[in-house]
Symmetry: none
Subunit: 210 residues, 4 copies
Amino acid sequence: MQSESAENGVSRRERERRRCRELILSAAVELFGRRGYQKTSMKEIADRADMSVGKLYSCFAGKEEIYRALLEKYMGEMHRRGDAACLPGDPPLDQLRCRIVAAIEHFKEHLDFLMIYHNESPMLLEGTIRREIEHNRQTAESLLARAMERGELRRMDPSILSAVFVGGIHDLLHLFADRRDVGKFEDVPEIMDRLIIEPLRARPALERKE
Amino acid sequence: MQSESAENGVSRRERERRRCRELILSAAVELFGRRGYQKTSMKEIADRADMSVGKLYSCFAGKEEIYRALLEKYMGEMHRRGDAACLPGDPPLDQLRCRIVAAIEHFKEHLDFLMIYHNESPMLLEGTIRREIEHNRQTAESLLARAMERGELRRMDPSILSAVFVGGIHDLLHLFADRRDVGKFEDVPEIMDRLIIEPLRARPALERKE
Amino acid sequence: MQSESAENGVSRRERERRRCRELILSAAVELFGRRGYQKTSMKEIADRADMSVGKLYSCFAGKEEIYRALLEKYMGEMHRRGDAACLPGDPPLDQLRCRIVAAIEHFKEHLDFLMIYHNESPMLLEGTIRREIEHNRQTAESLLARAMERGELRRMDPSILSAVFVGGIHDLLHLFADRRDVGKFEDVPEIMDRLIIEPLRARPALERKE
Amino acid sequence: MQSESAENGVSRRERERRRCRELILSAAVELFGRRGYQKTSMKEIADRADMSVGKLYSCFAGKEEIYRALLEKYMGEMHRRGDAACLPGDPPLDQLRCRIVAAIEHFKEHLDFLMIYHNESPMLLEGTIRREIEHNRQTAESLLARAMERGELRRMDPSILSAVFVGGIHDLLHLFADRRDVGKFEDVPEIMDRLIIEPLRARPALERKE
DNA sequence: GATGAATGAGACTTCATTCAT
DNA sequence: AATGAATGAAGTCTCATTCAT
């Protein structure tokens, strides 16, 4: 019956298992980020997570599964932060900015994940991470498209704009990370705004003139 | 005297060796690009290059050496194309555009290298490719900085501008590559011009008015 | 606390590991002795020791390490036997004889090691075994020198005498080993005594007469 | 017809082939002696002999064949020198001494061969060299046996005496070689005489007295 | 259920031998 | 006949995964 352990319908064993998965993923993100997926061994992950190799396999089907779960966790958290940071009713450009702020905070707290996010081999795991990155770009694309529809941004191919936008952010973060200047991460939304968004804003006053 | 084979002072053996190295690098760029460095075995490279494993080792000291030579070759060619495409006396923004055109042509002809360029693990070979990418960004940075000095571009931190610029290009190329729409590669210089450079151009007349 | 397994402060795991190393060394001494170090593969050692190749590497760092450990073990045991067989206070010639008896018993029990001892390539492992053999000769030399100092042996170059002495023993052992007549090993000390030592004994009484 | 080339029934081609074999064996004895048989590659032998790898195979069936021929050559030469140095009619102990002098001269001129002679793995090539060494011992044995028959030496097992005798010589030579004191090689016959032979000489006068 | 020792497939590399030139 | 580039079998070692304890 596992009586008293049922909290939210989750048994004690299940909670223990989840805690264990978290420990493993924390160890893995650090090692994968710093040394790469291939150069990290299961033994290293187990050591860093302070558990046995066998435990790893009782929590995950294998090394790839850890990688997959790691992406899901960190990407999911980034998305959730983004969702929480903006209201669906807000203007799309505000939403975009809020999402960027949220994503950057996330990267700031998980610098190792930034490395995985940007560098891991594209074909690994059939491109899981590439799909995630593409997903991020599409989120930006749809917000930018809505801004155009609402007349807040000049019209252009939103997929192109989003690619430049997202690519710009990534390389900026890497520039700052390389310089060990994580503090600058917070300037990124402002920079992107001035550099890309502002020049594209439709200006009612000017347009009226025309 | 190595008989009649001396062409450019290169013996037949040497030419054969170079041809062989090219075959290997062509096989390797394809496999490294699609499956990653670590997941590609020497046997696979040998099979793809239609030669024995031993031959690989008579042309290169080992797997890492192949990777290093591959980077040197493709990076070197890209740089050379960029150098050839612009004159030192040209205005910096023209030079920048010419270099981008050259780089994009290069990527268009070597799509597998685009994958290596953007995705290979950062820790591999002590970050050789990372230094190359950084080198490209710095080339852009110095051209942008000179444009600012000459009053052709509004002043801002050139390293930030170059990061956004270069990152934007990369993600655009990836977007088009993902869509199997390599034809669009040629639009990239124009897109970057309109989206980033044009809005930043200093307009003396307008600025005086303000 | 490692529970009840702590015997002599050695955990069960450690004991198991040592047992495993012994198994490997037993397999290795046999194969190295019969087929030589170079012609013996790790797979062969693993098969003979009835374990996997991986196990070999969990007990020893590599093939050379097995060889080194093998020498240490068998040489060490031979030295220990020699030390145990004689008292430092005994006359040097008695000590020498006791040491020879001990060494011969050791070789008799480990015929494969006799082969390694006498034949392995001199350049292997920077001549480890050569130094050991030289060490044995020097032990004999110092005992013979002391016997001379005490007037028990006629004076001559002790290093030359020890070389002939030790070389004679080796080839005798090989002769008997070739003839599959290991029983004769036990005659060796007596033979060496009569053939080399006895004629060299200083006889004060007789010499005075002359 | 290979007309004029027939000298002793040997064609020019055949003479060239022999010259080539000599070059190879000279290179091989040096390399095998210094680095060991296994660690010496065919390429190294070819380079040292200043010829192509293919040539090696046109003169010898393979690496083992070179080793075999090398032993045959150097052992054969040693035997021939020994034969030439003594007359069958001479007293056996004189013959023995002459043979030792000859063998030592041979080793002195071919120090690399001394290494091969003493150290190469016993099981290599099914013990070719071991049989040669055994052959040397047997030559000594038969001479010592004849000396006993002629009453020139006290009776004892001649195989045992020859083993000690030959083993003593070997280790003496190694001692001097290790000390880079090749000049001492010439003392060896005298040393062996005084140390082993002289004490064993039957003394008719003294024996009559008893 | 947890452990971590054991497994063994597979990676990189070497080199004796072959064979096209 | 000579060359030396090419071959590929075989060696050492690693590590993801399994399984007896």
